[in-house]
């Protein structure tokens, strides 16, 4: 188990490293940052000064090394725009996005797992069909459009919920729905398919042959095995959600990471963009790592290897 852990950790680390190279190159091969940084009115001397100030005159390898060394200490340099440490900028925004993602994921799981399981148990019924139709439809609705529609209906017309901001929990309702929406079909389908597979498996037949009550069969024997892949998917979805929060945060003017990223891209604030790419990638990798652990815990075949 420990070896399994360590190996997974090593892989995770090297993935993070590769992502860091990509994030770094992506933004540094794009052109002369110093010109951008110095601003439109800058003279060549000013540009040169900026270049030195931000270390942009160094070879790319050196710049990368310095940046990575900083990143390892959660020091991503200073924002070109805010001239403030990127880490502290991120620090303010991370909780918002994490909160949003967590609520959205919670919402999605809370809706999708029971519905998916029920659809599988009642396979072929009208409920199952409705659930599948909902899946197909759900995946077809663009997040941003859903967000706008939610605003029109629930915030502007009905005035039930606030439009934007993050002051109270009620502010998170609409964005979470918009963000969680896209994950519901995937989780639901996976739960349903997993349940179908499991329900058709020999050990469920064994459980039924023991005369166990249907709820024991479904909840103890079936769901436990059916959610194993859901755990991994949930982690992946959470990663996607953090990445996808860019759209939702833009729609709902939530000042989370996504919003910061979008603005930073627009402002060519590279240290911030880099840091966010890295951060999201790291969170994703961390999550899949945790999901692996959770899976190992849920599935003794991995745990007791």
């Amino acid at each position: 188990m420990l070896a399994f852990l360590l190996r997974r950790l090593a892989v995770a680390l090297s993935v993070v490293l590769t992502v860091s190279v990509i994030a770094f190159l992506l933004l540094h091969l794009s052109g002369d940052l110093a010109t951008d940084l110095a601003g439109p009115e800058a003279s060549p001397e000013q540009v040169a000064r900026v270049r030195v100030e931000y270390g942009l005159d160094q070879p790319l390898m050196v710049q990368y090394g310095q940046w990575l060394a900083g990143a390892a200490r959660f020091d991503f340099g200073r924002s070109f725009y805010f001239r403030e440490s990127v880490a502290s900028l991120l620090g303010d925004r991370i909780p918002i996005t994490l909160k949003l993602g967590a609520i959205a994921l919670g919402l999605a799981l809370a809706v999708a797992i029971p519905l998916g399981a029920l659809a599988a148990v009642k396979r072929g019924s009208w409920f199952d069909r409705a659930a599948l139709a909902f899946c197909a439809l759900g995946q077809a609705v663009p997040t941003f459009w859903l967000g706008l529609t939610l605003i029109i209906i629930f915030a502007v017309n009905l005035r039930w919920l606030p439009v934007s901001g993050n002051a109270t929990w009620s502010h998170y309702v609409l964005p979470s729905v918009a963000l969680g929406w896209y994950a519901i079909p995937a989780v639901m389908r996976l739960t349903r398919n997993g349940m179908l597979d499991v329900m058709a498996s020999d050990y469920i037949r064994t459980a039924r042959a023991k005369g166990l009550r249907p709820h024991t069969v479904i909840f103890k024997h079936a769901l436990r095995n059916a959610v194993v892949p859901v755990v991994a998917l949930a982690a992946v979805q959470f990663g996607f959600m953090l990445g996808g929060s860019i759209v939702v945060e833009a729609v709902f003017s939530l000042q989370g990471l996504g919003q910061l990223a979008w603005e930073a891209i627009a402002r060519k604030d590279f240290p911030v963009v880099q840091a966010i790419v890295m951060l999201l990638a790291t969170i994703y990798i961390l999550l899949t790592f945790l999901a692996d652990l959770l899976n190992a815990w849920l599935d003794p075949r991995i745990r007791v290897a």
Binding site: A3, F4, L6, R7, A10
Partner: protein, 317 residues
């Protein structure tokens, strides 16, 4: 003395099995030091428990995987020095599961013609003709030429697989449990067919099975494998009447003939197949052997000559 068509000389296959990052990879000896000779025109059967290395041996004979050590020779020429395609012309496989051994996306004609295509033999018309001939040979109606595997029964598929194996007119057919997925009535058909084809095409069979009744019916010589090693290698007659190795004997006891008067055999060996990564010391069979002694525990037996063959048991008499 003529050169045997197949010779295995101390063939060993070791698979490294990863066991985690910081543990060294374990070495699994799937096949350990197997030496065999198969004479032209004979049926050489290989029996043994699941996991004893039969398929691995077959794969090496087919050139699908390389032995870790030892040498395989066809007509005296080492396989390692032969072009793989040349090996393919001489040795062809028939697999156990006729469902997975045929590409479900291909029609019977394409399946049977594949070896010709792979070796660039003939035009499409001549291939077509050849396919038709092969269908006749394996007893399939010609109208099935456009059928897909999904439309055929298990027996029919196995016939297609055999036709494909024969289209290049090989010398040796490696049959890895060719009938164990089939019903008895179909099994009989396939066994009859194999025997007919052997005569017609002068084939040599390397026949893997765990059904000793089938082996007895078909084989000229029989090798019994246990945990990657040949524990006994005899002519059929000798093995079935006077098996020397306790494991062979146990296997024979377990042949359940449809005779209600016999009841269950009483001499059933204990235990189950040991872990191939950590095989028992000494004679690998000793933990299950009713006659094991301290010597068996300590010392691995070599091959002792017995009547019409060899046996690897200290007490083979």
């Amino acid at each position: 003395m003529t050169v045997p068509v197949l010779e295995l000389d101390n063939v060993t296959k070791i698979y490294p099995v990863p066991q985690g990052m910081f543990k060294p990879r374990a070495m699994l000896t799937a096949v350990g030091g197997v030496s065999l000779t198969v004479a032209r025109g004979e049926v050489h059967a290989l029996v043994g428990e699941s996991g004893s290395g039969k398929s691995t041996l077959a794969k090496m004979l087919l050139g699908l995987t390389k032995p870790t050590a030892g040498e395989i020779r066809i007509d005296g020429v080492p396989i390692a020095q032969t072009d793989r395609r040349e090996v393919a012309r001489r040795i062809q496989p028939v697999f156990q599961d006729p469902y997975s051994s045929l590409n479900p996306r291909k029609s019977v004609a394409d399946l049977i013609a594949l070896p010709l295509v792979a070796h660039g033999i003939g035009t499409s018309a001549s291939r077509q003709k050849k396919v038709a001939e092969m269908l006749d040979a394996v007893g399939l109606p010609r109208r099935m030429i456009d059928a897909y595997p999904g439309q055929m029964s298990g027996g029919q598929r196995q016939r297609v697989a055999i036709a494909r194996a024969l289209v290049m007119q090989p010398d040796v057919l490696i049959c890895d449990e060719p009938t164990s997925a089939l019903d008895v009535s179909v099994q009989a058909q396939i066994l009859n067919l194999l025997m007919d084809l052997k005569r017609e095409f002068k084939l040599t069979y390397f026949f893997i099975s765990h059904n000793l009744a089938v082996v007895e019916h078909l084989a000229d010589r029989v090798a019994v494998m246990y945990l990657g090693r040949i524990v006994e290698e005899r002519g059929r007659e000798a093995l079935f009447t006077q098996a020397s190795h306790p494991y062979s004997r146990a296997l024979l006891d377990c042949v359940l003939t449809p005779d209600p008067s016999l009841g269950m055999p009483d001499t059933v060996i204990a235990g189950s197949f040991p872990n191939p990564i950590a095989p028992p010391p000494g004679c690998a069979f000793h933990p299950r052997c009713p006659r094991a002694t301290d010597r068996c525990h300590a010392e691995a037996p070599g091959s002792l000559p017995v009547a019409d063959g060899v046996a690897a048991c200290h007490y083979a008499s």
